[in-house]
């Protein structure tokens, strides 16, 4: 049996890594994910895991060493945040293009400038097209559970694609929550052994990794890679079910919270979903048919499944923890709006930016979103397609 522990999200990620006991971890410290490599180093120093830790001199080298280690033949993990993730950028594409199932914990954080070390989704949303599987966690329990599942998803033969499991910097990474730490043996059994396909270190069968592809091959490589990424959707669902069987916590592509008859729906990812659930509960007590659609899998984006869940909604608000940066809305908004486009009776959709650089998002702000949705349904008019929550002064 697992046991209840009161630990931070970073400690949850570190314990998951300890139990997975990957062959190699190459990592560089950056707030707010620093405690992950610190904890891993301590676990190794105390003989609680025997991973080879490569204490690289930058995140660029962290991901580069991960690529080398994974191609050499074995299970490889890392952790990062924000600018560190951005510094890995070039190699994130190389990792996915080389079909190396590296797994990364991301304590999601704002990108500079101005410098800000606090939580938002600028890093992972910026990297949404790097070809990685992206799982987003609401709390420490999910951070732990998702990281364990990510290993099985990434290494699936039909997927062979790197995966990241993200959780909000500080809101989750540094907050102590009570969550269930499973037994070491059960986690080891769940993730199983990894048999690399074409290890560099098998010198009896020499292999070239990282050949370059001219115009008459590059396209095929990229589309093959896309197959692997798209295949992840079903694998995420099946691994989520298996995880439920093993540990009692089922996972799907999303979580539909009080969605059965929901008329006013918020779509969001990450820690804000906890606050939103509380607001939904109190609105429900007052007879308001509020619901939350929490997106767990952002890449590959399960647009069909999500639009099905939203089909009965009267009005939808999508919360993005990034700036739209010149697009019609944030990345979750544009994905959701696009997913709804094929529906004959699609609901109106609005978008909010919230929580940038660690700005607090409280029930009062979430309540204001549901108020806006009610107004849209009552008046049939959208006053503002895009707005901000808890910004000084009015947007626009």
């Amino acid at each position: 049996m697992g046991r209840k522990v009161a630990l931070t999200g970073n400690e949850a990620a570190a314990h998951a890594i300890r139990q997975i006991n990957p062959d190699v971890v190459a990592a560089f410290p950056i707030t707010p994910s620093t405690p992950i490599p610190q904890n891993v180093a301590q676990f190794i120093a105390d003989g609680k895991m025997d991973t080879e830790l490569v204490t690289v001199e930058s995140e660029h080298s962290a991901m580069s060493a991960c690529v080398g280690a994974s191609a050499a033949g074995g299970r490889v993990m890392t952790a990062t945040s924000a600018n560190g993730y951005a510094l890995m950028w070039e190699i994130l594409y190389i990792a996915s293009g080389a079909r190396l199932p590296i797994v990364m914990a991301v304590a999601a954080r704002a990108l500079s400038g101005p410098l800000n070390i606090h939580g938002d989704h600028s890093d992972i949303m910026g990297g949404r097209d790097t070809g990685w599987i992206q799982l987003v966690s609401e709390n420490s329990q999910e951070a732990y559970d998702n990281l364990i599942q990510a290993v099985k998803i990434a290494e699936n033969k039909d997927v062979m694609t790197p995966a990241l499991a993200a959780f909000d910097g500080f809101n989750i990474s540094h907050s102590i929550e009570i969550w269930e730490l499973e037994e070491d043996d059960k986690v080891k059994e769940f993730v199983g052994e990894y048999e690399p396909l074409l290890p560099l270190l098998n010198t009896d069968e020499p292999v070239t990794h990282g050949a370059w592809a001219p115009p008459d091959w590059y396209f095929e490589h990229r589309m093959n890679q896309l197959h692997g990424l798209l295949n992840a959707k079903d694998i995420v669902a099946s691994v989520g079910k298996d995880f439920g069987k093993a540990f009692g916590r089922d996972y799907g592509l999303y979580e539909a919270y009080k969605m059965d008859d929901a008329e006013y729906v918020i779509v969001a990812m990450g820690s804000v979903c906890g606050t939103t659930k509380d607001v939904v509960d109190s609105l429900r007590e007052n007879g308001v048919k509020a619901g939350l659609l929490k997106v767990r899998l952002f890449r590959p984006f399960p647009y069909q499944e999500l639009s099905d869940v939203l089909s009965a909604a009267k009005a939808v608000a999508v919360l993005d923890r990034v700036s739209p940066a010149g697009a019609q809305g944030g990345p979750l908004f544009t994905e959701i709006r696009s997913a709804l486009y094929d529906m004959s009776n699609r609901p109106p959709v609005i978008n909010y930016s919230y929580g940038l650089g660690g700005r607090d998002t409280q029930p009062v702000h979430i309540n204001s979103v549901y108020d806006s949705l009610k107004r849209i349904v009552e008046t049939g008019k959208i006053e503002k397609q895009f707005d901000c929550l808890n910004l000084r002064g009015a947007w626009g």
């Binding site: 580069s64 191609a71 033949g73 050949a211």
Partner: protein
């Protein structure tokens, strides 16, 4: 050192059919490097940085490599081999291999002196077992001869061009050997494919060190430097005989010069056959050649003094 006829029978790590320019010394050097490895004792796994050598030997769906190697990006051959070597330690620990595998990272000056310097420094400091070979062709040749910090003073490149008021690169070449010496590695060396036996001895020595080692090799580039394809080794020899490219070792901090030309040739002998230096021989530019000679002499004298002092660490 094996005899030539024995070397000729060795399984080649790098086979023919690659796409390097005719007369390119990349393949010559790498053939010497891989032939020097004592493959009866151990095997080699390599990482190559993006560059001429990589694009010419690893074009999908072909490979010129008869051995395991990986290409990742331009600036990270050293961090990539770090990861490979770390995984090897795990394989050994878990009994997944009983082989003795040693590691080579190869890059040119762009991937070493410049964009890859941080990754190289980090990998050396961490003490991974690998030999880093820098094939120094004095510029970013893969993108068409742009200046690097390894470009020598006065050289005409596409980003340090000769013009009416400027005459090639204005700064001296970075002394990468001194930069690397600061890492206090057990073994670093400079070599030339013209002195192939010396180069191969150095590779063999380096591969026997259980830690990071570095060899800087002059890699004359027929295309970027502008000399006839068949003269590459001759140019390398002239670099050695003019002391533009001293061949030496630094063993635990102690300088050992492996070759002292009996008749040290003037730098003009090296510069003259190369188009990249043609403007230096125009009237009014004599002072540039003087400056070039001064830089070469200063460095050579300094090396001689260091050798004489015999101070290691």
């Amino acid at each position: 050192m094996a005899l030539l006829n024995e070397l000729a029978k060795k399984k080649e790590g790098l086979v023919n059919g690659h796409r390097l320019c005719p007369g390119c010394t990349h393949s010559v050097i790498m053939r010497q490097v891989l032939a020097a490895a004592d493959t009866d004792k151990y095997e080699i796994v390599a990482a190559a940085a993006t560059g001429c050598f990589e694009v010419s030997t690893g074009l999908y769906p072909y490979t010129s490599w008869n051995m395991s190697w990986i290409h990742n990006a331009f600036e990270n051959a050293a961090s990539t081999i770090s990861g490979v070597e770390a995984m090897y330690k795990v394989w050994k620990k878990k009994g997944k291999t009983n082989k003795d595998i040693r590691f080579i990272a190869v890059a040119s000056d762009g991937g070493t002196y410049d964009i890859g310097l941080q990754a190289l420094s980090g990998a050396i400091e961490r003490g991974h077992q690998f030999l880093y070979v820098c094939n120094d062709n004095n510029a970013y040749q893969n993108t068409g001869n742009q200046r690097s910090s390894a470009t020598p003073f006065g050289a005409n490149t596409t980003t340090s061009p000769n013009g009416t008021i400027k005459h090639g690169k204005e700064q001296p070449k970075k002394d990468i050997m001194s930069v690397l010496e600061g890492h206090h590695m057990q073994y670093i060396a400079q070599a030339s494919p013209s002195n192939w036996r010396d180069l191969m001895d150095k590779v063999k020595k380096a591969l026997d060190v259980n830690g990071p080692t570095y060899i800087n090799v002059i890699e004359p580039c027929t295309t970027g430097w502008g000399f006839p394809a068949q003269d590459a080794i001759k140019i390398a020899q002239l670099a050695v005989d003019t002391c533009v490219w001293p061949i030496y070792e630094v063993v635990e901090g102690k300088v050992i010069i492996n070759y002292k030309p009996k008749n040290k040739l003037p730098v003009e002998d090296y510069l003259k056959p190369q188009k990249r230096f043609a403007h230096l021989f125009k009237k009014g530019n004599e002072h540039l050649i003087e400056e070039y000679q001064k830089q070469v002499d200063r460095h050579w004298e300094w090396l001689l003094k260091r050798e004489e002092a015999g101070i290691g660490y």
